[in-house]
Symmetry: C2
Subunit: 209 residues, 2 copies
Amino acid sequence: MKKENISDAVIRRLPRYYRQLTDLYHRGIVRTSSHSLGQEMNITASQIRQDFSCFGEFGQQGYGYNVEELRSEIGHILGVDNDHHLIMIGVGNLGRALLNNFPFENTGFTVDASFDVSPDVIDTQINGIPVYSTDELESYIKRHAVDVVVLTIPQAVAQATANRLIDLGIRGFWNFTNVELSSPNPDVQFENIHFADSLLTLSYRIANH
Amino acid sequence: MKKENISDAVIRRLPRYYRQLTDLYHRGIVRTSSHSLGQEMNITASQIRQDFSCFGEFGQQGYGYNVEELRSEIGHILGVDNDHHLIMIGVGNLGRALLNNFPFENTGFTVDASFDVSPDVIDTQINGIPVYSTDELESYIKRHAVDVVVLTIPQAVAQATANRLIDLGIRGFWNFTNVELSSPNPDVQFENIHFADSLLTLSYRIANH
DNA sequence: TAGATTGTTAATCGATTAACAATC
DNA sequence: TAGATTGTTAATCGATTAACAATC
């Protein structure tokens, strides 16, 4: 029974399922079950079946799930076959590291361009991606479809840059700045990678365990 | 009323509180309240008071909270004044970006050393941090206190490296590899930064909103 | 004092787990 | 067929929100 509103908790487990199923698939494993997946991932079989049932019926009584099929279903739900287009703003150390190493293509994204303010990098390429001046952002976005903007810029300019992009119609942000971005428009999606928050929770746990 | 076991949901909000309070503090704001914090952070006042009450009583009826004091209390809970020691394994693009840019000192961590397998970087320094050969890991850890290891290494060697480190007594991992690490020892803490998982949830949300 | 705001208890809501009929 | 495992409904558990006496 498909559900309308999927909770964030469920959505955040989907990539983990996808990862585990990809692993099984590459190891040549053909079938699995909620129990077996649960054991491998440290999740109850019950929760796995509940999670899947939000999106449809992917299994078969007595058999379980076909790994390749389930993997492709979950990938489809996540949108890995969507051909989303992405640009990056800020190609300092972190931005450059992502452009050089992160397998955007595995998650259904194509990186079309990047932008920076430094004359040293403008008009160069990083791993085949052209670097433009941020002055050209407006004109670029008007001429190209952009689904997601990666923000790898200094904190100080984060919210202002986001506002400018939202005005230009951008609705998806992958935010690496340690700032809580927000928009009055509920259609704008922010996904944050807060390094400092993450390390602080670890700090808490090693001190209080 | 202090609580014994604090839920993960609460712990993950603590760094956000700390961030917001640091911001208020730097802006010279002296007092705040659960309502005011809640409005700024998009959290109910009730939840904020519940969260704080897990750790003690930091406010005053009729007044609210002193920003500087509350900030320092939460910082203390998170352990920012703990002087934890940290080493990094793998100084490719991502590791180097973190060493050059991440303000470890703000979160109470000192980076003492880094390790890599590439002769090109061994015996160099990155932002003042020495790079050693991973061959020297065992002897280094035996001679130095290490609270957290940052894993910025290829997926393929992630679990094996973690196991080796756990055997050497390491109990905290900041894991940047896209692998779910685990240990039978419940004292071992893993904090994961899964870039791909994060981007996939964004992919889902822009497609289904 | 009157108004504001805390910390805490109780009520509600949502997410996880257990149970089980259906069926491959 | 017998055993296994699904999808779903019901029960439980935990987290969030509301209410309020206490008090600065």
